[in-house]
């Protein structure tokens, strides 16, 4: 069988009488437009034509590139067109037949609408619910339930509206029928219509719903991508430009890369909250390490165990830690130093360690005021302690400790 190549079925927006459906069909089928219009007008007298026309407007894209409201439903094969035609004709027939029972029709429409709303809102999509939102004291077994309830306040509202609509519909039905026998007949009619409508539109509605959800997901993803792009542009691309300009200075390149790495890591781990961590002790230490790393090529590797709120009483500890890190950067002669902090209920300890050249702690009495004053003195004045272990050629470790509550 040879297939005739026809122009695509599009609404002809250049020469429309109403929306260009007839002209479009005429072009597609290669017949004169007046025959098509005549057909629609004739069938419009009994309602079918009007409904078919409306369906066509909803389903068929415009020739000027405008998408039809339901353009996601692709009518691709002859079977599709045939199904669409049958559904249209069937619906029109049903409506015509039910015209005497206008109230029943209204009830059906209400019911179908509310059902559609419920079906659409039940579709599984909780991608926008933040999992980390759940307080830690709630047992994990309840997280899923909680998530689904939380993610769907709107769903609850919509379901309520749907139930109310359905109730009104049933009430209307009862009011109109008045007697039991009539109610039974009306109910069977209703059931038939519902079943028919469900068969005809159910898949369509669910497909539409899932398409809409998919689109929303895409939109969220796009927005996230945009944020990521903006962040990369502000930070990483700037750093890469700086790296190229400083390509001959290996130390500077390493420093830039490290600063950028730390910043990006922080951003990836904590997201936007990265900037609000100044209220905790580890945040204060991280800020000091980041600042010193920016100033000096020596890397500072920081490891924390547990945390506590930052307050003014802990500031001397942070300041002494800064002095220890800065000393190690300047005097140890190494590429990287290690910082470890540990918060216990009674005590906070900070270790600053390098594998550098080391020194004899007893011999630095006078000339290294940094250690005597800024570290040991400061810690002692604020109820803490500093222990300095160093060996020539082996490196240095400064241990700072402060009792919690003791200084309060």
């Amino acid at each position: 069988m040879s297939r005739v190549m026809r122009p695509p079925l599009l609404r002809d927006t250049d020469r429309p009488m109403v929306a260009g459906v007839c002209a479009g069909i005429a072009t597609h089928l290669g017949v004169r437009v007046r025959w098509i219009r005549f057909g629609f007008a004739l069938s419009g007298l009994i309602g079918i034509g009007v409904l078919s026309y409306a369906m066509a407007v909803v389903l068929i894209d415009g020739a000027d590139g405008t998408r039809a409201p339901a353009s996601r439903i692709r009518l691709q094969s002859r079977t599709d067109y045939f199904a669409a035609a049958v559904v249209t004709a069937g619906t029109a027939g049903l409506i015509t037949a039910l015209a005497p029972h206008l109230v029943v029709v209204a009830a059906v429409v209400l019911l179908v609408a509310s059902l559609a709303i419920v079906v659409a809102s039940l579709a599984p999509d909780r991608s926008d619910v933040d999992r980390r939102d759940i307080p830690t004291w709630i047992p994990p077994a309840f997280h899923d339930v909680l998530r689904s309830v939380r993610g769907s306040r709107a769903l609850v509202a919509r379901t309520a509206v749907g139930v109310i609509l359905a109730a009104i519909g049933i009430l209307l039905l009862l009011l109109q029928s008045g007697s039991w026998s009539k109610l039974v007949i009306a109910s069977s009619e209703l059931a038939l219509v519902l079943a028919g409508a469900g068969l005809a539109f159910g898949p369509w509605i669910s497909r539409l719903a899932s398409d809409l959800l998919g689109e929303r997901r895409d939109r969220i993803r796009d927005r996230e991508r945009g944020e990521l792009a903006a962040h990369l542009h502000d930070s990483v691309l700037q750093t890469l430009a700086l790296v190229q300009r400083n390509a001959n200075d290996a130390g500077e390149v390493a420093r830039l890369a490290r600063v950028q790495e730390r910043e990006l890591r922080e951003w990836l781990l904590h997201g936007e909250r990265a900037t609000t961590r100044h209220d905790v002790f580890t945040g204060a230490i991280d800020a000091v390490a980041a600042e010193l790393e920016r100033a000096n090529a020596t890397a500072i590797q920081v490891v924390h165990v547990r945390d506590c709120p930052m307050d003014a009483l802990l500031q001397p500890l942070v300041d002494a830690a800064r002095e220890a890190m800065s000393n190690a950067q300047r005097h140890a002669g190494v590429d990287s130093i290690s910082v470890y902090t540990e918060v216990d209920p009674n005590e906070i300890r900070v270790f600053v360690r390098d594998r550098g050249r080391g020194f004899d702690p007893a011999a630095v009495a006078a000339d290294r005021g940094g250690i005597r004053e800024s570290i040991e003195g400061r810690m002692r004045r604020h109820g803490g302690a500093a222990v300095i272990r160093s060996e020539l050629g082996e490196g240095t470790e400064i241990e700072l400790s402060m009792r919690r509550g003791a200084s309060r």
């Binding site: 990836l268 905790v280 924390h304 165990v305 945390d307 290690s338």
Partner: protein, 226 residues
């Protein structure tokens, strides 16, 4: 560092260069690591995606696989799971740019013997490969920090002391590693042998892999404020 590397090399039965397979979806990084460690280990192959990795590792059965955590199509986790099912003797060392606790702990729990970040110095990476080949565990300071964070959390009621708690000695060892000490330095500080340090670290690795605390990663992520 170099000294402890020599000690591992001199361990009985392990005098040949370890056979190493590299898996990373960044070709550039793959080539870089390969050339860096080329003299100190014997690289028997590389793969830049999960499926090729599973196939080639099954074919060449290396002693150690250096594996990237984040890869499309299942990531390092899938490579480890599928390889260990057929070749339980292959040792995995995770090498990643990410040091998010979820990633680290997930890859350890499927069977990696250690975890290091990609910024690690070449000598330390080679040392880690030798160590993993010998069946020991490799903990970066940050991983030791995670462990201390996760295992110090309020104990669940159905606690198994064998798996859900660290012994005081293990805690001490972890604390030193978190402070940046090498195994050798830890051994010296605690006046024990390197072998004993390795035993402690392996025991912690086992607890990390088998602990009933399903939410280890979450505990480690949400650093508790006390």
């Amino acid at each position: 560092m170099n000294k402890s590397m020599d000690e591992s090399r001199n361990a009985p039965g392990h005098d040949s260069l370890p056979t190493v397979f590299l898996v990373d979806d960044h070709e550039l990084f793959l080539a870089g690591v390969r050339s860096e460690i080329a003299g100190a280990v014997s690289v028997v192959g590389t793969a830049s995606d999960v499926d090729a990795a599973i196939e080639l590792i099954g074919e060449r059965v290396p002693e150690v696989v250096l594996i990237d955590v984040h890869m499309p199509n299942g990531g390092g986790e899938r490579v480890i799971r599928e390889t260990l099912a057929r070749h339980p003797a292959v040792q995995f060392l995770a090498l990643s740019v990410s040091d998010a606790p979820d990633d680290v702990i997930a890859i350890i729990r499927v069977g990696a013997r250690g975890y290091v970040t990609k910024t690690i110095a070449t000598a330390e990476l080679v040392d880690a490969i030798w160590r993993v080949r010998a069946g020991d565990a490799v903990f970066s300071p940050r991983l030791a920090g995670f462990v201390l964070d996760a295992f110090a959390a309020t104990a669940p009621l159905d606690l198994d002391p064998e798996l859900d708690l660290l012994s005081p000695r293990e805690q001490e060892v972890m604390r030193f590693i978190a402070r940046g000490y090498t195994y050798k330095e830890v051994a010296r500080e605690l006046v024990i042998s390197i072998k004993t340090v390795e035993t402690h670290v392996s025991a912690v690795l086992r607890k990390l892999q088998l602990s009933n605390r399903h939410e280890l990663a979450r505990w480690a992520t949400q650093r508790r404020i006390i």
